[in-house]
């Protein structure tokens, strides 16, 4: 159970709609913004900025193989005691 209840898409004010467009497309008609982005959706601009950072780092296909990036993600998460 998350600390804050996940926000529903219909709770997003019109002025923040642009910030949630990427997650709306990803969740295919879900009513609630769940998961790691759901934890940020109470501040849509923040969620959107983290998504942009993700696209430019973890999800960027640069010189590091994707397997290495995912392995780093798992290892850092283990090291931080992250249950998620």
């Amino acid at each position: 159970m998350p600390t804050l209840r996940f926000r529903r898409f219909d709770e997003i004010p019109p002025e923040d709609e642009e910030h949630v467009a990427f997650v709306r497309a990803r969740m295919h008609g879900a009513e609630e913004i769940s998961g790691i982005y759901g934890a940020q959706a109470h501040w849509p601009a923040y969620m959107s900025s983290n998504h942009a950072q993700s696209l430019a780092s973890f999800q960027l296909q640069g010189v590091l193989p994707q397997l290495a990036k995912e392995a780093m993600h798992v290892a850092v998460s283990m090291s931080n005691g992250c249950r998620f």
Partner: protein, 200 residues
């Protein structure tokens, strides 16, 4: 990871590198060892347990000899890193730890690029200045990475730390528990698990 085709053993290899790096970093920080790769530090020594001189290794000489040859080939140093020379004060523990090190960071299901990137990422996250310096030349050689590539690696680490903090702070439940690698294979019940391809 399992979605990318790694086996249960491969995931355990990642765990092993993470815990091994963290445990070594605890000793280094506890004894105040300064980074000594690629070169030993200048100035007054402040280590709380002094590294032994290679010529005074005694019962640890054989293991230190192996480490010296490895360090020269992989890290590009002419000396045995201080971490190993501190452990040499307990030769049996040095030998056991070096053997584990060779197993955990040696050939396995993970390729060398993945293994050493994992080790550096954990060292940066701990944070361990000593092991961040120690793994730096190895990553640069094995991947290989230039400064731009190193920043790509650092950017990924930043992202993981950010999202770990968010997930922990908001107490998110894990999306997967009690799984096996075969469940992510074609036909498995998690074949369609979320996670998209990389973005170019």
């Amino acid at each position: 990871m399992l979605r990318l085709g790694l086996s249960d053993r491969g995931l355990t290899e990642i765990l092993a590198i993470a815990e091994h790096t963290r445990s070594m970093a605890a000793v280094v920080e506890g004894f105040g060892l300064r980074p000594d790769v690629p070169s030993p530090p200048d100035g007054v020594t402040g280590e709380l347990v002094a590294p032994i001189a290679e010529l005074e290794a005694g019962a640890a000489a054989e293991t230190l000899g192996q480490i010296q040859r490895w360090a020269q080939a992989v890290l590009g140093t002419g000396h045995v890193p201080a971490f190993w020379r501190v452990l040499a004060r307990q030769p049996r523990f040095l030998a056991a730890t070096w053997a584990k090190n060779c197993l955990v960071l040696g050939p396995g299901e993970l390729d060398e690029t993945t293994r050493v990137c994992v080790a550096l990422a954990v060292a940066m996250n701990v944070p361990s200045p000593y092991f961040s310096a120690y793994f730096n030349p190895w990553v640069r050689r094995a991947v290989p990475l230039d400064d731009s590539g190193m920043v790509e690696l650092a950017a990924a680490v930043m992202h993981y730390v950010s999202f770990n903090t968010i997930a922990h702070g908001m107490m998110l439940d894990p999306p997967f528990t009690n799984v096996r690698a075969e469940e992510f294979r074609p036909g498995g019940q998690l074949e369609d698990a979320p996670g998209g391809p990389p973005i170019s």
